[in-house]
Symmetry: C2
Subunit: 399 residues, 2 copies
């Protein structure tokens, strides 16, 4: 039997069906947060950001967040003034049900863009969600926020601080429109540790930089993404000293949850059949390394070669050459597929055989690494392949 | 009967089979240029640029170009020192056959990356090509340089200058790895007009900016692209005054040939079923307008919606929001599908019906236009959709 999924003292959840779309499933998630918790978040960089994102950004600045409301099936994006009114009405509904103020509620939406939210359906479902709040609802919560995902995404860790067991749990959704700076991706990570607001604020940035900002499914960034990190403060002493062992341990576990969720999104990438790490080593800067890794990981020609299990290294060098690295000396470049060297000094490695490359590409998971020999910065991203199924899913979604 | 394709006094061509790959077809094109012609070119921006590109760039700087040699089937890219030797040996072969110097020959290659050129096969075929040179070979020339293209691409125009008929003809190849700044794309445009070198140099830049730098099939840029413009000078007076009517007329015709070839590449885009113009109007700058047009035209989610004939305008606003335009006021944005308004003031236009949008998207050709209302710059690009066939072609190419 699998271990029961941990719950987080200070946090309760409920997933209910609200008929956001004409379907039979839980599509509304309410998360209740005890007073005194710290809540931090990062949001989409898309300029056309959705109404709930605008409202959530405003509310989180006031602090004292007590609840999150997330609906799947409708993004409430590109909905103008009406969209803002709708998001605020949802917050007011939660506020009434929980006895908090509307400013203490963060709204989130994911789904189809450009249609008005069925607010009345959501408002009708909130009281029943409030009545069902319980601490152990994370797995059904992960299912309720899915859209084109094929499976719910959860992760958990625990650490011991001052003799007390601290838990970290997370849920995420996302399978397409995935790119750095938040994609059609929602993630909620919670711990019962006590972390001051300013420490949590920088921790969420670090965790997202190490996880969700390193993944790509199709290079598109959505209007609605958010990653929220909650520290309920219910257990243990305050972890405020960022140089302490306790902080290091907690941070590693929190980042571990973020990475596991980010990787789960790539693995569930629309139509994905491969999970590939792209590593760029010995680059002149982190920016250079990451932009080259993304150039490789997002190239449709590379991604179709991954799908075909075809070690078409010409497409790899094409992508390397397109990454915009200035004064790149291609004669110094090596490329490896796992530990098989495919490119040496900018040309085909003499030891390379098509068979060896093919073997790596046939695996469900592998690493493409590029050595630029022009600095000492290493960076990596995670990507997936581009399949017939991707086209089918995205040609048919919405109909 | 169709008009016979014009020939260009001062230019002769021959396409021959050279067995660059194990296939039965013409795959080597020799173009012979009369003494005194002016030749200009633009090349790929890819840092991993191919050996023939490096050699051609060097040779064209010396001037006095007398021949072009183009092979399909092998890109001679990522081939290191050997690749440079191979490209130079091909130039020497042409020089010997035509009685010119190797520096007067420009080499071009397109095809698979990372394999050495079968130089001996090419050298053996050059004498027979030289013996078959004739002025009316443009259509078979266009066929000889094809790779994944499904059809040869040619265009022609004529203008009358000082009572003399001047012709402009062009051929191009390219169907994938197509993106601004030269893609897996080769284009050769020739005229018998007499144009000074410096005027021709700026004309080729202008023509490429108006044509090949406005197209995208998959956002990838190849290692081998080039666009060459030849003015043989065989007919009419010198056209040197860029303020003259003669120049304006000639320039319009030359750019017309470039645009027709560029559009033919998009229409023959790998797996393409739609030809779509993306127009961004009233932008603050040309850069802003073009980068937004490309963000829309290259988004896999937009391109799969085009394929599905699904006017999924949420994906359009997503792409608009991702284009990196600073301080974008989304409440001012309108979007049109041909003349059907779909977005008004950042939200769904009240007049819009799904039926009307669907009708436009079902057409083989249409225009998506975005009005930003924040400046007076308009720009456009041409793109195609992303189909099952694209995945099939690119998952199977090379095997």
């Amino acid at each position: 039997m699998a271990q029961p999924f941990p719950s987080i003292p200070g946090i309760r959840l409920a997933a209910v069906p609200a008929k956001v779309k004409d379907w039979q499933r839980d599509d509304l998630l309410l998360i209740d947060i005890a007073e005194g918790a710290a809540v931090s978040a990062t949001f989409t960089q898309n300029a056309f950001c959705a109404a709930p994102v605008l409202v959530a950004k405003e509310h989180i600045q006031q602090g004292g967040i007590r609840a999150l409301l997330i609906n799947a099936g409708n993004a409430n994006a590109a909905t103008g003034e009406q969209g803002l009114l709708d998001a605020n009405r949802c917050c007011a509904g939660v506020a009434e049900a929980l006895g908090v103020s509307a400013q203490q509620v963060l709204p989130f939406s994911t789904g189809v863009i450009g249609e008005h939210l069925p607010v009345q359906n959501i408002l009708s479902a909130i009281p029943s969600a409030a009545a069902q709040l319980r601490p152990d609802g994370w797995e059904s919560a992960a299912a309720a926020i899915m859209t084109t995902d094929t499976r719910p995404k959860t992760a958990s860790r625990s650490v011991t601080i001052a003799g007390e067991k601290i838990s970290i749990v997370g849920i995420a959704k996302g399978a397409g429109m995935i790119q750095p700076n938040m994609a059609t991706m929602l993630a909620y990570v919670a711990t019962d540790a006590r972390i001051p607001q300013d420490v949590l604020d920088s921790l969420v940035q670090e965790a997202v930089a190490a996880s969700f900002n390193r993944i790509s499914v199709d290079g598109d960034t959505s209007t609605n993404d958010a990653c929220v990190l909650i520290a309920s403060g219910a257990t243990g002493p305050e972890v405020a000293d960022t140089h302490s062992d306790a902080y290091a341990q907690l941070k590693a576990a929190i980042i571990g949850v973020h990475i596991e969720l980010a990787q789960a999104i790539v693995k569930d990438g629309e139509g994905a059949t491969k999970f590939v790490t792209v590593q760029v080593n010995n680059a002149a800067s982190s920016e250079e390394a990451l932009s080259m890794a993304f150039e490789i990981g997002e190239s449709p020609l590379v991604k179709t070669a991954l799908y075909a299990s075809d070690p078409n290294w010409g497409r790899l060098v094409m992508a390397i050459g397109n990454a915009g690295a200035t004064d790149l000396d291609t004669s110094k470049i090596s490329v490896y597929l796992d530990n098989v060297q495919i490119v040496d000094a900018g040309g085909r490695a003499s030891s390379y055989t098509e068979d060896a490359g093919q073997k790596v590409f046939e695996q469900a998971e592998f690493t493409i690494s590029v050595d630029l020999q022009r600095g000492n910065v290493n960076e990596h991203i995670w990507t997936c392949d581009f399949s017939h199924e991707y086209v089918t899913i995205n040609a048919e979604y919405r109909t």
